[in-house]
């Protein structure tokens, strides 16, 4: 217990880094995911196929390989990102492919009459999607989106392999400096992640119930 209290400020500083990583990656993945999901649902195959390719390619890659790609290969291509930003890009782009599938399913679940009525009353295709279909789809997708974001928060721990000094990296440093308290230190990390993610899923449950009411 003393080991944790002594190293608390050091480890908690990483929690702030984790929160920044997760928040930026959530924003990036939401933008890309809604875009790819809307494209995936388009009627024109020239719009749809690139989106399908993007989604399938990313979903067939393990995240670790994707993170290493974003860090090492992008650097070779001349995009010399810091580990933090490479992590944001990797997590954001990776998660966007999963979000896109959820968005696509959400759009498909909006009754076609909504689409037809909006088009018939003179809205453009883009405006129908943005103003009529997407808002309804988003509400239905909320639970699936939250579990994807929880996955993203768990996944932030993986960017420690490219040297981002986030929460779990600091926990590991603490653990290897002490060497004698692996259960206390790693247990502390597990409890922190659990409280964060489980809490988030509870809040989402609440919101869901309220939306249904």
């Amino acid at each position: 217990m003393g080991a944790i209290i002594d190293n608390l400020p050091f480890m908690l500083a990483g929690l702030w880094e984790t929160a920044k990583l997760a928040a930026l990656a959530i924003v990036l993945s939401s933008v890309l995911g809604v875009l790819a999901g809307a494209m995936r649902s388009a009627r024109s195959r020239f719009v749809r196929w690139p989106a399908i390719g993007y989604i399938q390619l990313i979903r067939s890659a393990p995240l670790i390989v994707f993170i290493l790609y974003c860090y090492f290969v992008l650097a070779d291509l001349g995009f010399d990102l810091t580990p933090f930003w490479a992590g944001v890009v990797a997590l954001g782009v990776f998660t966007s492919a999963y979000l896109a599938e959820i968005v696509h399913a959400g759009i498909a679940s909006v009754p076609p009459g909504q689409w037809e009525a909006a088009r018939a009353s003179g809205l453009s295709q883009a405006s129908t999607m943005r103003d009529v279909v997407l808002p309804q789809a988003l509400r239905r997708m909320a639970p699936a989106l939250v579990s994807e974001f929880i996955k993203l928060i768990k996944d932030t721990s993986l960017v420690s392999i490219i040297g981002v000094f986030e929460f779990f990296h600091r926990v590991e440093v603490t653990n290897s400096r002490l060497l004698t308290e692996p259960f206390a230190v790693l247990g502390f990390a597990a409890v922190c992640y659990f409280l964060l993610n489980y809490g988030l899923s509870r809040v989402a449950r609440r919101l869901e119930l309220r939306l249904d009411a």
Binding site: S60, P62, V65, L68, A75, D155, Y193, Y198, S201
Partner: protein, 251 residues
Amino acid sequence: MFNDLSWSVVLDDPGRSFLLHGAWVSLQLAVLAIIGSTVVGTLVALGRVSTAPALAPLRWLLSAYVEFFRNVPLLVQLVFWSFGMFSLDLVRAVAAPLNPVYSNQFLAGLLGLTIYTSAYVAEALRSGIQSVPRGQLEAARAGGLGYWTAMRAVVLPQAFALAFPAIGNQYISATKNTSVVMAIGVTDLVFQAQQIESATFAAFEAYTAALVIFIVICLAESALLALIVRGMLTRIRPGARTAAPAPALES
């Protein structure tokens, strides 16, 4: 950089044998974790759907098991098993007979991956069990079968068939998740790719080779799973041959 690609670092030895060795390690991990997580996941799901009032504490414990292992990152769990549990003399002694074949890192990775995946399999199977009509269990019980026989012979086969698309997605996730074990020093596919990268600086070639091998394994796996789903559904519902949704590549 793309005008001087050197694919020979992955297509020729020693790179090639590095990658093939890594792929073999990843494949073993995936298969063993899938088998293990199915066994553990089934037991957890059975415990969670039990109704006996005396088993209420067990149900609480199992739901804590599922929530805990699903909400803590896999990497944290793997580090816990490898640097926590496998630092204990007792655990090392128990694992010692296996060490000629599997290193302690491998065993820690296998244990972590199995338990992590079992929580997801248990959830998928639980919803499969709950979507089997209650009448099936009641009829089997009324026909004279005991609770466990009715479960095993009547409810579980149907539940597995219904839940298998979801469970199959978890198997594919588990296969991709095997890559996380590189962080605890298991010499899996990604670990070997990283070795090649750090020896040759050919990042693109090394990681692309690993990625291609992963994609081939996962595509083969999802084709195999689709066949299994079809077989299962025909066995329980002889008319429903075409209704099987193929498992997609899931996270």
